[in-house]
């Protein structure tokens, strides 16, 4: 029978189209060079990211306050006096802390809990590279172009920085890449698989960044538009919104259970997360002096130019794509547009610090779009044997220019003052240092040593701290179980009892901002107010211990 069947096969191509035995026949999966490349490129990027993290953390002594806060939260989850998940406070989206808490377990025994954030972002950065190569493989891009395009993204210094700094961006990039991939799959063929990917990716983004609140409806609309009937449109839009809605609900439920307010995250100064949402000063050099919608748009354009220059080139190409691709193209631009749009919304209200990293997610969106363009065999330009190579080279050039542009922007104090990224970039580029760097970590290390020495004199002594402000003390101390922190069940009772059962109260003066502005005060003010008899003097971080 086999012979007879073979005789009736019209042609090998037709048979492949009609009889699909993909999981059974060998050779239907990713071709070997791309398997090989995927593994190598993932490992290479991880090595670069982790090396950069170690250099920044130990070589330069550089760390961002919010990254230290997340590392402290992660440490508290496992190693606080009364460890619980509530140690993370839920003022921020919990995704990054939950993920890095896994690494904390391994790093704690070697006394390097502060490395959990950078290690987590390095892993996530490498995972993003893995996903990108997989997308290239599935879309049939050659190994050479895969290597070049993915490397242009992965080794963009601004991306390397986010993959090494222990912040939340890299996790967001990972899910954004999945989201855009899922969205393009959905545009190709609206399948359950694509919807699942979109939903899961949106849930991931929701677990990481506030901006996802805007991203979800945008994606849902474009997902719906792909369907024909209104009923299908609504169902599809709801389907992809369910996972992020669930994550959001769980998050605000946590806010309610822990902080007694569904929307505590809107005013998180009492959370165990660092109090990051203080107001930016009117004279901040990195923000427009006048904060109106017009200046917000100008500012967003300027920062987009600085950090994600590629989107400004790729967006017009996407918007003028052929008819069948137009919805997907506009959708990608809309997804990327959420990030500057968020700033347009917040800046006139003076509720954002406008950090350059807020504009970098567009690079994660644009790299998938570029892979999509470069692998489009039906395109007259990219599919042409004559022009395809040149067009792909042009896209590569865009990615490289964007990388150079972002590096130079990050080295400018005026752009990168909020978190002192300029210090890392100027050092890396061999430029003379041109600003005053914020160095919370070293100060806090010294403080922790002083506190450890003090409490070392009295075994079992207990120090009450306001975690949202004094998290680095907890992070760098050798005695994490000797701190009573805000999430402890007896914290409020201790406050109410005027400090019964504690030996020390650690107070900060509430002026830790590099810009000389008060950045929230939270529980530390409560400590001052409610433990008056314990408080002797308002100690600064340099001389913090009061008894």
């Amino acid at each position: 029978m086999i012979a007879l069947l073979e005789r009736f096969q019209p042609s090998p191509e037709a048979v492949r189209a009609d009889v699909v035995l993909p999981a059974i026949l060998p050779g239907r999966k990713t071709t070997r060079p791309l398997w090989f490349l995927r593994r190598r490129l993932t490992i290479a990027s991880f090595i670069v990211y982790l090396s950069s993290a170690l250099w920044m953390l130990y070589g330069l002594g550089f760390s961002i306050g919010d990254a230290l806060s997340r590392s402290a939260n992660a440490r508290a989850i496992w190693f606080a006096r009364r460890p619980t998940l509530t140690s993370m406070g839920f003022g921020w989206m919990p995704g990054p802390v939950l993920f890095q808490s896994i690494f904390t377990v391994v790093l704690e025994p070697i006394g390097q809990a502060q490395l959990s954030g950078p290690l987590a972002t390095s892993v996530l950065g490498a995972a993003t590279v893995y996903v990108l190569v997989s997308i290239c493989a599935r879309r049939g891009l050659s190994a050479t172009w895969t290597l070049l395009l993915v490397s242009a993204y992965a080794f963009n210094p601004a991306i390397v920085f986010t993959a090494a700094n222990g912040m939340s961006e890299q996790m967001n990039f990972f899910f954004l890449v999945l989201l855009v991939d899922g969205f393009l799959r959905w545009s190709d063929h609206p399948s359950v698989g694509a919807a699942t990917l979109i939903g899961v990716a949106l849930a991931g983004c929701m677990a990481v960044r506030y901006e996802t609140l805007v991203l979800v409806p945008v994606v849902a609309i474009f997902v719906g538009l792909r369907r024909k009937s209104w009923r299908e449109r609504l169902q599809s839009a709801v389907l992809v919104s369910i996972p992020p809605a669930y994550v959001f609900f769980m998050w605000i439920l946590a806010n309610k259970l822990i902080q007694k307010s569904w929307f505590w995250f809107l005013h998180p100064s009492g959370s165990t997360s660092a109090s990051a949402l203080g107001l930016p000063p009117p004279d901040a050099i990195f923000l427009p002096a006048e904060r109106t919608l017009r200046t917000a748009i100008e500012f967003s354009f300027s920062r987009t130019w600085d950090m994600s220059w590629a989107i400004l080139v790729v967006a017009p190409i996407l918007l003028f794509r052929r008819r069948g691709q137009r919805l997907a193209s506009v959708g990608i631009v809309a997804i990327a547009g959420v990030y500057p749009l968020w700033i347009w919304y917040l800046l006139p209200q003076n509720r954002t610090w406008g950090n350059p990293r807020y504009f970098l997610p567009m690079m994660a969106v644009v790299v998938v779009a570029i892979i999509w363009l470069a692998s489009d065999r039906r395109s007259r330009v990219f599919g042409s044997s004559r022009w395809g190579g040149a067009a792909r080279a042009a896209l590569l050039g865009v990615m490289v220019i964007a990388a150079v542009n972002a590096s130079l922007a990050e080295s400018r104090v005026k752009v990168a003052a909020v978190e002192s990224e300029w210090y890392v970039f100027q050092t890396a580029l061999g430029q003379p240092l041109s600003g005053d760097r914020v160095d919370n970590a070293e100060r806090w290390r010294r403080t922790a040593a002083a506190v450890d020495a003090e409490i070392g004199k009295q075994p079992k002594s207990l120090v009450m701290i306001a975690f949202g402000r004094a998290f680095p003390l907890f992070l760098f101390s050798d005695h994490p179980k000797r701190f009573m922190i805000d999430s402890d069940r007896d914290y409020e009772a201790t406050l109410a009892s005027n400090g019964k059962n504690i030996d020390y109260v650690f107070l900060t003066n509430g002026t830790s901002s590099a810009l000389g502005r008060l950045v929230g005060s939270g529980w530390s003010e409560a400590v001052k107010t409610e433990t008056g008899s314990l408080w002797r003097r308002d100690a600064s971080a340099a001389n913090p211990v009061t008894t």
């Binding site: 029978m1 069947l5 009609d18 999981a23 998940l85 919807a195």
Partner: protein, 493 residues
Amino acid sequence: MRAGAQLAPPRLPSPTAISNDELLRVSIDGLRDSDPDDSASKNLTPSQRTGVAIGSVLAIGVFVARPLGTSVAFVTMAMLVYVVVLAYRTVLFVSSLNANSMIVVSDEEARAVPDADLPIYTVLVPAYKEPEVIAELTAAIARFEYPARKLDVKLLLEDDDADTIAAAVGAQKGDFQIVRVPVSEPRTKPKALNFGLQLARGSLVTVYDAEDHPDPLQLRRAAIALERGPDDLACVQARLAYHNVNQNIITRWFTLEYATWFTQFLPGLVARDAPVPLGGTSNHFKKSVLDEVGAWDPFNVTEDADLGMRLHRRGYRTGVLDSVTLEEANSDFINWVKQRSRWYKGYIQTWAVHLRHPVRLYRELGPKGFAEFNLFVGGTPLIALLNPIFWTLALFWLVAEPAFVQSIFPRFVYYLALVCWLVGNFALVFMNVLMAHQLRHTGLHRAAALTPLYWVMMSLAAVKAAVQFVFQPSSWEKTVHGLGTRPVFTEVA
């Protein structure tokens, strides 16, 4: 009564060359004689019994001596099982989404093969006390787009099932052959299948239930897939779906479960080259391979799942065919519990049988296959058995916050439990929502949202199965058919 097999009407050369007693003996003892370790005729081997006994005594002893420590250890192990099984289910789901794991044979390709080139196809249809579905069987046979002269349909009826035999004889127009299986123990479907298999004249064999409504091109598709696939492809399993989806909430849940099982989990297993537990019907085999592996185990009440394992252990592969067979979903609660408890019991049987020589199994399957076998075959009933324990603990905690509940969940275990609770439950419900979306039947979305209630039913069935595994291992509780609405012949997915 060991009466002879009666073939009516005799379309085939009479199998008188083989005595009926011999046919029956092979049906019952074939596998037990050739591979006793693969047969579930003994529930547990002596060494397994000893192991279980020693383990139980030790567990009780340790619990009496150190109740808290033992409880913590139990909870920890249970949570690890939950997390690993959950992660594995998710991996299977994602695997099936990422890879096009189904075998697709288009209508054009299926019809392009001339009748003369098609092999003789044996269709085995076991039935017991189902006179009402005989008409459906004849209609299904008539719908097959397969040359009649190459169809070898055998309706396998128990010799004492007078009503069904009468209905079959009345409906018979020469399009199927009635095979009367002598009454004997165990009274199971696989025994009847083994009996019918010995009379088969096709090189390909499939199994349908009498009330099934297979895709008319399914035999052609399967024939092409089996012939054109690699040599080690021994079986293709068609997708099963239900025609009475909207009859009530149970049929809706069942539909969602089947959709997940046959469009996600089984293709996911195929994509990962893992052992595939076959579904009860619509599995298509190369007869030579069936003969080689000893066909069905008459003592195993999920003989299909067991056969899938044995095929994998012997180095054969199973594929999932993109072709649908419509069945009747169980719409009655008691009937559903009977059916599901049989399935769980069968999974426990299969698990126990294949773990008789764990080292040998490990060598045959490799570490990945060994783990996947345990996660899927063992994990399915185990999770259903564990659920009531943890639901009770959760309820205790919510109502009274007793200290002992907190004490048996140390931090690490508590976090695992939280992941299972918040992520796992949502993921499983969301999978059903996705299936509801895919199936496009009204009312399924609400059923998907209420899935946790279905889990309660599953746990009831699992407890019953565990009890039966001890006391009535080979007892086959017949599922009553004909409770559903009549089918509407449209593709459901």
